[in-house]
Symmetry: C2
Subunit: 407 residues, 2 copies
């Protein structure tokens, strides 16, 4: 058995990137696990990710009651605050100065691929500076696009919101027919947009069309697709990813925005511009008069009270496992992963990979999840996503026996 | 005791205007009550309101099982389909021709003020044509703007969605600070937008500013208000009604749209244009860099699984009462109302008014519900709305004991 090289010292945990409905489950899972291990002394939370390290804005997580930790775990969004910041070499030097003064030997960073990249940079620089640090990434992203993972905490709950929203919106569109376009989050990967498919109960239910960033978006084909559905059903509900790209791979929403963060990401969310652009395409290229667009926006990642139970439990577990790996001392760094046990019944299979394996680049929807016409998902995707999303609202519909016309 | 002049005949029920989360409760309440009365023979549902009468598209609601009626009652949106159509005199003549052939003596129309106007027109024309018809309006509108009512079925559930959404969005904004503007439905009345105030748990919680159609909107004051909050808290969450108007009373969103329905209403929903316009104002008039806008859109009236229990029960009851009034025969027409019993504990007080009293014109937020600065609501509004909305998600927050800096 390998020697346990895990140090004795203080722990720092932080959150980064876009919040999710269950990111606090991971935080609380890590804190509760840390309390069990004698190697971990103080448990500090950094406010707003690495910005809180640079600014020395820490809170003492051992001072939070068990009841309060549970209440926070059930609450959406990042309870420690978040940030979108890629550290420079100078930032790293400053970070190690702070960590040294606070006696931090354990660092946990909860987030997506950009957060994994930051964790990787901090880990590499720590080695280069000879600063001994157990450095672990805890996965989270509603985009579901971390490599080495079957799926990512946050996705199941975001997908549950999207599916429920489409259930209701499909009924609204059935009551007042027309074309309804809904824009869903997902910068590079279409998983969250694809989850709209889970809303379908009856054969005529929307979304009738689904457009993903994995396939080039052509506005003429889009208009023809919509018109075809509209001719058949007298209405059409469409799910579109905010990340849809033209043939050259440029995001269409990016052409409508100028804002870029330090990871190089252009602002796609927080605007209705893409939806309005697509509604305008349908209005100009078809004769359909009632065309509406909604952008689900930040509600997809922050709406309280509807987290997927499976997602919440898995988010808790990856936080817990990151601490266990850190204190086990077999490896000084890594990222916890979730894959799927083989077999007919869904069960998660947790693992650990190197930070570089999940940082920066993202994964995409596999081809088997996208139909040939590039305007829908396959049954394989629905089978993949359903257990992650959990139970959805029951939708009633009249049998609707027509009344014969009086003779 | 007055003689019961209620006829024996068939009943027709229909839904009109924007769907709500509980409009099917009213429909099912009416159907279940109708089944108890020997005066009512067939129970027909007209598909898409009066369009279904003109097209003779009826379904037989006696053929729906009790279990299916309950499932539909729990389901958002208008199960019979909806329409936005004001009948002409020719339409009315055609309608009576159809009603006569189908032996219809009871007509129930579920909707808002435009629907009440249509019911009123049909009732007046029926008297003029000598067509004997019990003609009742059943209230519904998320806008909460029917005259003669304390509140309206659909509002409590829409308000519950809005309040929960702001709870989550406030946390999202706290995690990644900036200015966040959310556009809420409400053409003439600010009730639904005002319900965002119910999201506040802690003193620094958003929405920090609320703009309603009842007060003229000035973009310079708006920018100054936002900047003031941002300077104090480092962030700002804003609730804005889609119906906000300039000093002349012209809806700002109406300037961005060209679509008008037969009741003269310009399209306000189904576009992100107003939110993007307001975000642009903040970006151009302040130095704040992170400004985002979401438009809650149709989810406010259609999201499944989160209806307010009080709202659902009251929606059921107004449907039931409309049928009871109709078969009681003391009056051939009317609109069921909901007011509030005096006293400290909330209890509804149902009544009946003439159709003309609730048709066409809408009511607005009373002055006592709006602050002097015209950018927020008063505690009186919160006390008014809270019992209608029901329980909201519990929000956890860290006590957040700061870690002292090492000396």
């Amino acid at each position: 058995m390998a020697k346990n090289t895990a140090p004795v010292g203080n722990m720092l945990i932080a959150q980064s990137g876009g919040p999710t409905m269950v990111i606090n489950q991971s935080l609380v899972g890590a804190v509760l696990e840390a309390k069990k291990h004698r190697q971990i002394k103080k448990i500090y939370g950094s406010l707003h990710g690495i910005a809180g390290i640079l600014g020395e804005n820490f809170i003492d997580l051992r001072r939070e009651s068990a009841a309060n930790l549970e209440a926070v775990a059930q609450t959406p969004s990042s309870a420690l605050g978040s940030v979108r910041k890629k550290p420079t070499k100078d930032d790293c030097r400053a970070i190690f100065g702070v960590l040294r003064r606070y006696g931090v030997r354990y660092f946990f960073y909860i987030g997506g691929n950009d957060t994994a990249e930051t964790t990787h940079i901090i880990n590499e620089e720590a080695r280069a500076h000879g600063y001994p640090l157990q450095c672990f990434h805890i996965p989270k992203t509603i985009d579901n696009d971390l490599r080495e993972n079957d799926h990512t905490p946050g996705f199941g709950s975001g997908a549950r919101f999207v599916a429920a929203a489409f259930m209701g919106d499909n009924l609204d569109n059935r009551a007042l027919p027309g074309v309804k376009i809904n824009i869903i989050m997902g910068r590079h990967a279409g998983f969250l947009t694809a989850a709209a498919a889970l809303a379908r109960v009856h054969p005529d239910d929307g979304p009738h069309l689904i457009y993903l960033p994995e396939r080039p978006f052509d506005e003429n084909k889009f208009a023809a697709d919509v018109e075809k559905v509209y001719r058949r059903l007298g209405r059409c509900v469409v799910a579109v990813s905010e990340g849809i790209c033209d043939k050259k791979g440029t995001a269409i929403a990016a052409k409508l925005s100028k804002e870029v963060d330090s990871h190089g990401n252009v602002q796609l969310s927080g605007s209705g511009a893409l939806g309005d652009l697509l509604a305008g395409i349908i209005k100009s290229k078809t004769n359909i008069s009632r065309v509406r667009a909604d952008t689900f926006g930040y509600l997809q990642r922050s709406f309280p009270g509807i987290a997927s139970p499976v997602d919440a439990a898995e988010a808790r577990e990856v936080g817990r496992l990151a601490v266990r790996h850190a204190v086990a001392g077999r490896t000084p760094s890594g990222s916890v992963t979730i894959n799927r046990k083989p077999g007919p019944k869904y069960a998660p299979l947790y693992g650990l990979v190197e930070l570089r394996q999940v940082s920066r680049e993202t994964r995409h929807m596999p081809d088997k999840f996208i139909n040939k016409d590039a305007n829908n998902v396959t049954p394989a995707f629905v089978a993949y996503a359903a257990p992650l999303v959990g139970p959805l609202p029951k939708i009633g519909r009249f049998k609707g026996v027509p009344v014969p016309r009086p003779s």
